[in-house]
Symmetry: C2
Subunit: 216 residues, 2 copies
């Protein structure tokens, strides 16, 4: 799998632009747990996931986290190059949730091409709109949905991503995804267990009744 | 004040594009309280505020609201043309908060020009990034800030916009801005009053101690 076949607007670039990208392109491996991009401290560049899984989250002053989106194979991350646009006034942290192979297009390279190519600029627009939609969805969840629904949705999502009913995840981690405290998650999981929907054991959560969770 | 001097990328358009915009441009007046754009039911077009004030908000199934941003003189609204981009998967409602004069660029006109002009596409990117930043700020407020801080910030913002210490606003309206219930706001305002920060009377809130509110 090469970059040319994965980068969505490759064919819209002229020969000079293609050359410029290939000349500056960085191939990187990130082990699970590595922070790839650390808010305003970095301007990493545009990240294209070859294989693996990344998580983008925001951090409060007190160190609380909330996941805003995840990136899978072939997904492109714009906010690791947030310094590219003056109007992006927020910081996200991006870490590898699994061992990940990725390409990085340096910010300057991408920016120059975006300024001259309507196709690349419009692609960037669609990319931002897609992430924006995810954040709006999250905002709606937080505003209108109660936490039991959000925890149930998270367990089902994890189960779908990992293709297993037995999730290896700590309560702390779920809390960080959902922007709440560990104790709150533990209480909710105990309630789910008492209802027979899941079984909790050390470091794992076994989904027993998927349908009941879905109903929530 | 004419459109040409207000539209930020006017000079980047060629003569044909300028002509196309002027030929399709709509001038509109919206009285206070008018809904200009109603989520996915409309694809109004790009709105440019000549003078006045607009509010963009999302609605829950139960009719609860939360303000996501406001638009003032010379501000441009992209999400009133959300049908323009496939990746915009959320709906906002836009209403006039004051009597407003505005221009509307029809969606098709703008889309065609954006697809051929890198300058317009990049301007659109900055526009979306600016709104995205406002929503991220809101998300952080909701996640990490307690409601007393949010109510205090809202009162101070209103006072700055209206240039008065005496706000004519109902508790219901504040609740709609902040995505909560009227009763919750009434309770909070009574607490502020008991602390001497504000004085509540029928339909108005008088800010007595700005510094105390700012401290919150």
């Amino acid at each position: 799998m090469d970059f040319e076949s994965v980068f969505p607007v490759w064919k819209d670039l002229n020969a000079v632009q293609q050359k410029r990208i290939l000349a500056s392109l960085i191939t990187r491996k990130a082990e699970k747990g590595t922070v790839i991009h650390n808010g305003s401290m970095d301007c990493t560049g545009l990240v294209l996931v070859k294989s693996g899984q990344l998580r983008a989250y925001i951090l409060s002053d007190e160190g609380r986290e909330i996941t805003i989106y995840r990136l899978f194979d072939m997904d492109m991350c714009l906010f690791s190059a947030s310094c590219m646009m003056r109007s992006i006034q927020f910081d996200v942290t991006i870490e590898a949730e699994k061992d990940t192979d990725l390409w990085v297009i340096p910010t300057e390279t991408y920016k120059t091409i975006m300024e001259e190519s309507a196709a690349v600029a419009n692609y960037t627009n669609e990319l931002m709109a897609a992430r924006f939609s995810e954040v709006m969805w999250l905002l709606e969840q937080i505003m209108w949905k109660s936490l039991d629904k959000r925890v149930a949705a998270f367990l089902l999502e994890e189960s779908a991503i990992e293709e297993t009913q037995e999730l290896k995840i700590t309560h702390e981690k779920i809390a960080n995804h959902l922007g709440t405290h560990r104790e709150v998650i533990t209480r909710m999981l105990r309630y789910f267990q008492s209802e027979g929907m899941i079984k909790i054991s050390r470091g794992t959560i076994l989904i027993l009744e998927k349908e009941k969770l879905e109903k929530l």
